[in-house]
Symmetry: C3
Subunit: 354 residues, 3 copies
């Protein structure tokens, strides 16, 4: 493939970039980054410690970034106090430019005459922007995205193709919304009367604070009244469902296919693992983390690691799981115990009747 | 924000609108609706009873809608026999107009010359409608929606941006299909022969009866042969998967991220909670309700509340869950019991050998 | 409805098509295919054996395809050694033509001048194709699909409306990607530093080998570095999430709403049932099959059938499930046993103190 790539660095330049300590030949050419297993002889790799470090013996990598106590390695190294941060910096350096709409408004974009566009926006082809919506400076909107009426999109945000933002939703600065995400659908509220489901009108809206990222095909419903609100710096993966009137604190992480029912409140820094479900009205305290596929049916306090369905403190959940795994043998044990008791009863009975 | 809002009402007008009984100052101005917690001093709130009613003491709400036996409240009230229905009526009154395509066909929409459009349709920009498809009167199709060939879309329906309706699918009257929903993908059927998966052609179609709503990013696959059919008045939330040849009765509710495998039959009024999974070929009787994350692996009769995996009658499932929570302590008990039996055996043995 | 349908066959022609043995009137007209229950009197149905065969007694079907040992049936039959393959062949014959973009590039499609289009491509309206991307011969790209820069789409592939393929992704030959699928979103990787989530740049890509199918609204994320790779002949259903750096072997099947976390490796022919979740870094051996809703938290060897969370060998999982269902009664048994032991202890004590 002829992917345009970023120019190569020397290892000495890498060391300078990450403010690390060079060990070995600083002239080695680094043209990219890859895993220990897949790195080629012009690529940098990394290790945070064992068991990865020992695999360097069979790696073709040109050089490695590792912790300051990294043992001797077959290839030159850059030693740093924070390997993950350093490798993120190097990845940033090698990130290819993305193809994006040109500055300005594409000839095929339909921007309502009452919409306001900030400086340096890039609006791609076939984009639709409704009346009175405001697009912040430097924001990029890719092809086919649809923004309704009376929306606000903050500065320096990126909306990928075919995103749908319904009327009156507000996105903060530096938001990233991935393809086919849907923000502001009417909350799923009905009342059953005379055998029919009557729609409860949803007059509220959705607010994403600054630095929020929403994954592809994720859905955030508008509130029945008031707001559905995602806290600043929260990151939402693909195919996540967030129902009406949910509120999250700052810096939450919702992993792929997690689902949050109506009126749930998440504190700051809550982490929902993949496919986690949270039932309506529940509150989860700051910093609590749910492992994948957990089901939260009751409110949880802060700074827990919780698991299972119903979700509970993880050590307890693991003890129960371990006990459950012993269940079939336990049945045998109890059957055996019952027989022994029966034998004792007979013996005691005999002894009593002696 | 300068969202255009609907004109305010007096509380007396609200009482008239919902046919309720006014208690207190009918001249209070109501400019919107909000929750007890978030309502401002020009907003109406509501309560269906405790524990909500007691929270009115600290609410800033201008007035409250409550049941006919509502105790005295700090703000004027409107008393009604059906609070939920009344508040839905008020929400309807305050629902802002939605921004929608203008009547007629947008200049950029590509409508095949053999398609038929009913009176009063509104076809937005960049919409594609295939040959021989029929769009009912009063239907609104938002930007970027795609309707294949030989489709029927009933009257007064709304298709939101970027919906995909494949060839030959039929939607009833007053359907609402949210953004990025996909109706009529080929059912996921393959036969494995000689180590390869051969596609089973899916010649059937999808039928949505009247008053069906399909959430954002939900997928309803076409039948292998015959129809996948969703019963009248059924409501489907976001990110729901409905496989080929599924049939549902009238008035079913499928909550977010539920998944229904091939050839499942749901009766009338079945409710699937969030993230519920139903395996292929299963039947679920009328009115049966599955709690969130349940896994249905066997057919279920009607009017059950079922839970767990495999899903079973809820009281039974809860008893098993409660027992499972006692498992770790049970293991200790059994270990202890075993020791006591051992001691008894030794004692009895001694006594026998005395 | 006036769906254009394929011309009818005689049953003798059906027998010739599937190389089966005709039993009864070969002149019967076959205008379609349907299930035993729904087939009309001009439609063919099929059975692979009981309990289906006995239902033929009440079927209106014009004829049936069945196995070579099919008992006498009320309607003429075609006997074959492989019923499923035969019916797939007949379904293929009756599959209506799909409505697709015309050959060439639609006037509204925006194809970058540096993109390369193979012979016989059909590029629909409002499609966007970025710089240097290469579209193979015979490939069909439906309305509104978006292909970024430096992509490769193999020959004879089909991309349905509103698909998003991000920069640098590579699809093999005969790929099918359904509507609103998202390929190449940045992997969901962050590092938490000083209370903020910093994005880890994702410089890798996505590779789909030949004959891969991706369902509607499914998401396959690009690798942090290197590739996320889906093996040849793998089939992915709707709403499936595949995270960065996942690799699958050939011929895998991922059923609806399955989710695979980062750096998971699946062997050849792995089957993930609906809503299955696989945690990051796990390896699953060739031919292993996970039943629906299972949660894989540890690596699994090859050719297992596994179930539950944590997923384990199915027979073992079923034994544990069966034991769990007995738990409430078990608690009663143990309570009873404990009483009996207590009585024995008292008796023995008395006897000892005699």
């Amino acid at each position: 493939m002829t992917t345009p790539s970023r120019p190569a660095l020397t290892l000495a330049e890498v060391a300078a970039l990450v403010r690390g300590q060079l060990r070995g030949d600083g002239g080695v050419v680094i043209a990219g980054v890859n895993t220990i297993r897949d790195a080629g002889d012009r690529e940098l790799t990394w290790t945070v410690g064992e068991p990865h470090t020992r695999k360097l013996a069979t790696s073709r990598a040109a050089a490695v970034i590792g912790p300051t106590d990294l043992p001797a390695t077959p290839m030159p190294a850059v030693l740093v106090s924070d390997v993950e941060a350093a490798i993120a910096t190097v990845l940033e350096r090698f990130l290819p430019d993305r193809w994006a709409p040109s500055l300005g408004v594409h000839a095929t974009a339909l921007v309502d005459s009452t919409a306001q566009l900030g400086g340096g926006v890039a609006i791609g082809p076939y984009v639709v922007i409704g009346p009175r919506s405001v697009i912040g400076a430097g924001t990029v909107i890719h092809a086919g995205a649809f923004i309704g009426a009376d929306c606000e999109i903050g500065e320096q945000s990126t909306l990928w193709p075919n995103v749908f933002i319904a009327d009156r939703c507000r996105l903060g600065r530096r938001n990233i919304v991935w393809s086919n995400a849907v923000i502001g659908r009417d909350g799923f509220g009905f009342i059953a009367r005379e055998g029919r489901h009557r729609r409860i009108p949803q007059i509220g809206t959705v607010v994403l604070e600054d630095d929020v990222e929403v994954g592809a095909c994720s859905c955030i419903d508008r509130a029945k009244c008031g707001e559905t609100r995602i806290g600043a710096g929260s990151k939402i993966d693909n195919l996540v469902q967030i129902a009406h009137n949910v509120r999250t604190g700052r810096g939450c992480i919702l992993v792929g296919q997690a689902g949050v029912a109506g009126s749930v409140h998440l504190g700051h820094g809550v982490v929902l693992g993949g496919q986690v479900g949270v039932t309506d009205g529940v509150e989860i305290g700051d910093g609590t983390m749910l492992t994948a596929q957990s089901g939260v049916t009751r409110s949880l306090s802060s700074h827990l690691v919780a698991e299972g369905k119903p979700a509970q403190e993880r050590h307890r959940a693991l003890r129960e799981q371990a006990a459950a795994r012993r269940l079939p043998e336990l049945l045998d044990e109890i059957r055996e115990l019952s027989k022994r008791v029966r034998r004792l009863e007979i013996a005691t009975d005999h002894s009593a009747s002696d």
